[in-house]
């Protein structure tokens, strides 16, 4: 009892804290990397990769401003978004398979922590009563509701193979059985998850992150009423969510490099491996973005239904080949 407690204090807690700091810095950097790749593909030089971090720092030093009719929801939502995302990052297996509270890092817990953040964002969009905010909130919730079944079923496919829905346990058992990774069930779940993550993070075929004041925008419409430090928090929350989802895909499908033996060296290797894997995913997603135009809103159910069928297939093949 005491030995496991000291192990938690000496290893798991610092590792979880490191994960949160790492994703808070790395999420914006991933956004910057994706913007840079897009700029290069379009023949521009583009902003430096650290630009989103600089934007957040600039916004944090600005004055707090609220719309006249805003209630307490507007200033509270960024804190809820950030807190829910940070807790999810803290307990998820990102750089180590033994994070603090790892036993409660069930996949459903992570999904619903992220969903708490989405709901807080949607409420804030509705709060000021502007047309854009309400429209953005309604669209974000629609996409969320369509993406969620695909996400959950895809993850069920992974848990069938591992025999548990605990994320650190799934990652450890994938490390122990490397031949699972190339199985058809995993590949189908990967395709479904990539589509869901593109939808959840509002990247291109679903939402255009580069627009302001367009009728087609989703996430930007929802946060239109934010300014200053609160906008910084919402942006940081979005970036951390992207960082967490990319890291989860990286570790669920390519777990190599993650620290599994509780040593400091393993942790450092884990940090480097995570940075490398998420950068590769960011490059892949921005390549998809470069080659696709935004889908019409009414075509989105088609895309997400495809993701859902892929995940159903993943579950069936997983059950049959078990």
């Amino acid at each position: 009892m005491t030995s496991s407690f000291t192990a938690t204090l000496a290893y798991s807690m610092p590792a979880s804290a490191l994960q949160i700091v790492l994703v808070a810095l790395g999420g914006p950097l991933l956004l910057g990397l994706m913007a840079k790749i897009r700029a290069r593909a379009e023949g521009r030089v583009g902003a430096p990769i650290s630009q989103p971090l600089k934007d957040i720092r600039k916004l944090l030093s600005k004055e707090r401003l609220h719309a006249r009719h805003a209630s307490v929801v507007l200033p509270l939502a960024p804190i809820v978004i950030l807190a829910a995302t940070a807790v999810a990052i803290g307990i998820a297996p990102l750089i180590t398979t033994h994070p603090a509270l790892g036993a409660s890092a069930d996949i459903l817990v992570i999904v619903y922590l992220l969903l708490t953040g989405s709901v807080a964002g949607a409420l804030a969009g509705l709060d000021t009563g502007t047309a854009f905010g309400g429209m953005g909130a309604s669209r974000a919730m629609t996409i969320g509701a369509l993406a969620e079944p695909a996400l959950l079923v895809a993850v069920i496919a992974l848990s069938i193979q591992a025999g548990t829905s605990n994320l650190p346990a799934i990652v450890s058992s994938t490390l122990a059985h490397p031949n699972w990774v190339s199985g058809p069930s995993r590949l189908l779940a990967l395709v479904a998850l990539v589509i869901v993550i593109i939808a959840e993070t509002g990247r291109l075929p679903v939402d255009n992150p580069a627009t302001h004041l367009e009728l087609t925008m989703i996430h930007e419409a929802m946060i239109l009423e934010y300014a200053g430090p609160e906008l910084a928090l919402v942006t940081l929350g979005g970036a951390m969510r992207l960082g967490l989802l990319f890291s989860l895909v990286a570790n669920l499908f390519f777990p190599w490099g993650i620290g599994s033996n509780g040593s400091l060296v393993g942790l450092l290797v884990g940090v480097l491996a995570l940075a490398l894997k998420t950068s590769v995913i960011a490059v892949g997603v921005s390549l998809i973005e470069i080659h696709s135009a935004k889908l019409r809103l009414f075509r989105l159910p088609e895309l997400l239904a495809g993701a859902f069928v892929m995940s159903v297939l993943a579950v069936i093949t997983g059950l049959v080949t078990r």
Binding site: P184, L187, A305
Partner: protein
């Protein structure tokens, strides 16, 4: 070939057959659909070749090569030419919309697993475990035949049915005699060639290729 590689390769190839069947329902662009069909032909040939390598069966390997050439290259190539003749390149108005047909496809796939459980339980092996995939491909093909309006899409549905039947025969009986496979492959090829003339004639007379419009050709 050791047992683990054999199982893994067979699962991957059979899985690719089913995924490409679902993709044909998912995408609207006729060119993408035809690409998926050629991917399916290639995966089907891969199943035959893997089985042939595992069972040291020369005739099956020959059948696999035949499937690769006819269903992987020639038929998709012809369909691509037909698609180019057609002025509009999308399946615009299927009778059942795309999200609903994808969900229906999921139901069909589950159904085929339930139905073929009895067949596979007679002689459980790595190959027979994949039989539901063939049945599912047949069902998805029929669904496409029924719900899509364009002539090209209907032929794609027909070829899905044929591919599914071929997959089941490969998995259950290690392939029918070469002469039968030759006959059925050439049959499909002939259907595609006939379709090409049909689309050309319809294009000249109607400027479109929805088969529903054929009613106006009466009198």
């Amino acid at each position: 070939m050791n047992a683990a590689t054999y199982t893994g390769a067979l699962e991957l190839a059979a899985g690719a057959v089913l995924v490409s069947a679902v993709m044909t329902l998912w995408r609207r662009q006729v060119r993408t659909i035809v690409t998926m069909l050629s991917l399916q032909g290639i995966s089907l040939a891969a199943v035959a070749l893997i089985l042939a390598a595992h069972e040291h069966d020369g005739a099956l390997a020959l059948t696999g090569l035949l499937v690769l050439i006819v269903k992987g290259v020639i038929v998709p190539g012809l369909l691509r030419r037909i698609a180019r003749l057609d002025p509009r390149s999308r399946e615009t108005t299927p009778l059942v919309n795309v999200p609903a047909s994808l969900v229906f496809a999921a139901v069909l796939i589950v159904l085929s697993y339930v139905v073929s459980a009895r067949v596979t339980s007679v002689a459980p092996s790595v190959a027979t475990r994949m039989v539901p995939i063939g049945v599912a491909t047949v069902l998805v093909g029929y669904f496409m035949l029924v719900t899509r309006r364009r002539a090209v899409s209907k032929v794609v549905g027909l070829i899905l049915v044929d591919n599914g039947i071929a997959l089941v025969t490969f998995l259950l009986t290690s392939g029918v005699p070469l002469i039968v496979e030759l006959g059925s492959s050439l049959d499909v090829l002939l259907v595609v060639v006939v379709l090409q003339f049909l689309v050309i004639n319809m294009g000249e007379q109607l400027r479109r290729s929805e088969l529903d419009q054929m009613k106006e050709l009466h009198d």
